[in-house]
Symmetry: C2
Subunit: 586 residues, 2 copies
């Protein structure tokens, strides 16, 4: 055993990380910490050429087209994204592993192949893709934020890394996560905290918070996150991104590192995050068509189904195409803040303007479904985390509050929040239970899933389409990005994990505006968490946070949810364009 302390190991690892940044890409004038909104910095900092800005701002399909037609080279595109990723990292601390030389070498090979054959190697030829830290790439560490995992050799690509590389993608950075992965924010002892680029006093969310912040700053066109209780959707929501939580086992997980391994019932899934919806589709289609079940025994044998993307189960594209959406306004666990409601109202009005029907979705046993999934993880999580952290004598983290790494920032934050707001208490983890007790929780879960399915099917009488509700619209959280350490309600995401429904985050393009999103009078509180959430809302504190909505479809309905997502997204964009035009007229 080494005599180094865990702090020694961290210092060494951080130094190594810094050494991977090309000196020319170090920000000459980084904005001081009290500059909260840094979204515009990559384009104004002077490090990116106008072409690099053009490349990194483009949509995925455009980038792929320009690569496939030789307009842009893979080296150009990789350089642009790598540079912007490193800039992003200096602003919000979003990366873990940085391996740009390797990426540029790979990009050069792709360019050579293209030059020689005139052909792309696959549908993602030359596209840089960032990966959450836990997704193994041969030769790159996957510490997952555990000090004891520093130095562990990764001898093999994960199945997903293989599929992406074979499709032509260029891997270049891995992104930050919280210790254990089981936090909805992003902080660990090795890499520290990732902040929200829209407002650095707010959390980037988690556990795929590094991805969220990186993509928001356009340091990556597509990032891969993982989601066991919201870990793709929460950072997508807080950073204003598209993010898909696919169903269990649609995207291959084999060969990644993880928490709670062996917990087989409500499992983590990998999925894409992007700033354009076409990126989500390109990723899902590419992976499904690669037949992942031939490489990962748990992956579902179901390729990309174009007829499901054509909404064959929702009246079909050939029909008049009118869908019925139902909006969940309040899950009766924690009522959302005003900006979240404003986002849903925009979606409602936009969909109605586009001719769709929109009804209300009343919650069904959401608190029970939420408690049930918590009990499944709680059955043995303590042993799991302890086993991972203890070899390095690294302590388990029990709070995401700024007080743990930025006491000054914490004081300022609490002053802004006011005396009526108490910070969340530090987390205690439950002791484990017996296998038989766990089976009884699984059994309860099955009943809840059966009931929820019946409940959904029973909406057939209210839709006017002859079908049950086509998809549900819901908040992704009861708030937009909250201050660091205050993201304590994952009820709007965890429920869909437990039910295994496909769920997509869609940004509305709106952000929290204190002049519009004023605090409303208190409602009758559902419980103490609801009251605490009401009290937390302060428009000045939440200012600038993106407003997103969540679209929920059925299990293994990724194609249909993406297609319905396009409908919602287009309706919102059209509605907003119309409003802006109307405003301009005034």
């Amino acid at each position: 055993m080494s005599s180094k302390t865990w702090q020694d190991l961290v210092a060494q690892k951080r130094l190594h990380q810094a050494s991977c940044i090309p000196p020319a890409w170090v920000l000459p004038n980084p904005p001081p910490q009290d500059v909260l909104n840094v979204i515009g910095v990559p384009e104004t900092c002077g490090l990116l050429s106008s072409k690099e800005i053009e490349i990194t701002n483009a949509h995925v399909v455009d980038i792929l087209q320009k690569l496939a037609s030789g307009v842009w080279s893979a080296v150009e595109v990789t350089t642009a994204f790598a540079k912007r990723a490193v800039i992003a990292h200096q602003l919000v601390n979003c990366l873990t592993e940085i391996f740009i030389d390797r990426a540029l070498e790979r990009a050069a090979q792709l360019d050579k192949h293209f030059k020689e054959t005139g052909k792309v190697v696959g549908p993602l030829h030359g596209l840089p893709i960032s990966l959450k830290d836990q997704i193994n790439i041969k030769g790159i560490e996957s510490t997952m934020g555990y000090v004891s995992w520093i130095g562990r050799e990764v001898t093999k690509n994960s199945v997903l890394a293989d599929i992406l590389e074979q499709a032509g993608a260029v891997l270049y950075v891995k992104t930050n996560i919280p210790q254990t992965l089981m936090w909805p924010e992003t902080y660990n002892h090795i890499f520290g905290r990732t902040r929200n680029p829209h407002n650095r006093s707010l959390t980037s969310g988690g556990s795929s918070g590094g991805e969220g912040a990186l993509i928001a700053l356009k340091g990556s066109p597509i990032g891969v996150g993982s989601d066991i209780g919201g870990s793709i959707r929460i950072p997508s929501n807080f950073n204003g991104l598209y993010g898909l939580r696919p169903s269990f086992h649609r995207i291959p997980y084999a060969g990644c590192v993880n928490s709670l391994e062996g917990e087989d019932s409500v499992v983590s899934v990998l999925g894409p995050m992007a700033h354009s919806l076409d990126g989500i589709k390109a990723f899902m289609k590419t992976v499904a068509e690669a037949k992942p079940w031939l490489r990962d025994p748990v992956s579902v044998r179901k390729g990309w189904r174009e007829e499901e993307y054509g909404l064959a189960d929702h009246g079909g594209a050939g029909a008049d195409g009118k869908l019925c959406f139902a909006i969940l306004w309040d899950d009766e666990v924690v009522k959302p803040h005003p900006p979240v409601i404003r986002g849903l109202e925009l979606a409602r009005d936009a969909l109605r303007a586009a001719g769709h029907k929109v009804i209300d979705w009343k919650p069904y046993k959401h608190a029970e479904i939420f408690r049930n999934v918590d009990a499944i993880w709680g059955a043995a999580e303590k042993e799991d985390y302890t086993l991972a952290a203890s070899p390095a004598q690294e302590p388990l983290i029990s709070s995401m509050l700024l007080s743990i790494d930025d006491p000054e920032g914490f004081k300022a934050q609490m002053a802004l929040l006011g005396t009526s707001v108490a910070p969340p208490v530090f987390r205690e983890r439950p002791d484990g239970v017996s296998a038989f007790a766990l089976w009884q929780i699984h059994k309860e879960r099955r009943v809840l899933r059966e009931e929820y399915l019946e409940y959904w099917n029973a909406t057939v009488g209210e839709t006017g389409t002859g079908r049950p509700v086509d998809a549900i619209l819901s908040p992704a959280a009861p708030y937009t990005a909250p201050p660091h350490g205050f993201n304590r309600n994952a009820n709007y995401t965890m429920i869909w994990n437990n039910l295994d429904y496909t769920a997509l985050i869609i940004p509305t393009g709106l952000t929290v505006d204190p002049s519009v999103d004023v605090k409303v009078p208190p409602h009758e509180f559902h419980n103490s968490a609801d009251k605490a959430n009401y009290e937390l809302y302060n428009p000045e504190v939440f200012k600038g946070g993106p407003i997103c909505i969540q679209l929920i479809g059925r299990t293994l309905e990724e194609e249909g949810v993406i297609a319905m997502g396009e409908i919602v997204d287009n309706a919102i964009k059209k509605k907003r364009a119309g409003s802006e035009k109307a405003n301009t007229k005034l």
Copy 2:
């Protein structure tokens, strides 16, 4: 609480069962117990008309065609199968619930519909289907052999019963199972023991042993069994039937009763058993096309895929259609008896004669994969069974030996087996473990599954097709039907459950023939179970048992396995027809 003993409750239930048999269908001259082979009795007993014999001997597709063209009525077909089922029951004790009046009423409604509209109600119009006891039918008890479950009201059809009825099937009997379902034979305190109609001194297998015996006697054209470790395939194997173990969650299980509920990792699946392969296909296609995922939240969203049935992933039907099969001759846990090897040799020769390639399949960690799944169930099985049995003070059964219900038969059996054979010891169940310990077993399982998949893929260099082995051929057990209580090696079935591979039993048409299947000299034993199995083999004891093989495909590859099953089945039939012709010439 009632003051009745569990024995009182059993007596009452048995009386009720007997009262459900129409008096005219009671066998006038049942064969005495020492008549072992009763396969021919239904046709010779005098209760069935020649038309009823024709109907019950027909293949499923023929029956459906005659029903759909009005040649046979649903009432005629139902009457024929119900009568033959009741005859079968009197020979081998295969039924639990008998509800013929209800079935005939339903059949009459179907006939009325057909007469009025000229149309069938669905693809299974008028076809009687028998169900394993655990599959809930509204108004019919599902005791699953637990005395404490007698009298429990079943208020709702299971999803599968609904789908079958909506497709036009007629439900008429439920079939016998062992207490707990977790035995590979069939005996419980309520309904007693099911025997093998080919040789009543042998077991019918289990847990779907009632189905196996019933269908072997052609008392049902399609039966639905369940399989967590071989419970469809073992009785199919011992009774000479086709039986498919579909992958997890392909056939909806919602609304059934079960053992080990909440054990989510290696779960029981429902699947068809039949005496013709077209019955297996008709069942799978019908259920998949009914979109079970819209009614059962756990069912996979994957309809019947005709292109997979066309072997698109195996060179396609349009190619020259040459496949590569690999034969597992010995899993190095327990070596099979000579008749089992003879069955595999026939398959090998038949496939080679049909132009396919046949290579050997070397086992990969079969003992570990087998122990792993055993440990998963063992994590909490004791608590599960105890909870179900204890309300009626019913003891848990710890052996399937004849000594427990037929001491005289047991003595005779042991005399025939000889002094070198010791009966299996009574079973002790392990104490439960912690949820964390269970997760570690699940984790080990995932690694084994990944390794086995890689192992399969690595055969690509040996096949000559450019693909890895298309399917594996394997014994379904290390023996044909053994004496009651001696079925103690489920290693050849449980492994595929743990790996979640699609597996189909195919009868070769051969049966154990003491003049051919002579005892071979001892081999170097793998372990004590292997030695005990070698010693057990005695051609006279096993005489008449059907010889079957098992065909194994990949996860969720039901369509492909059925199609490859047709290829194997046709090759064997052709080969046997050729041999018989050749023999006749001599």
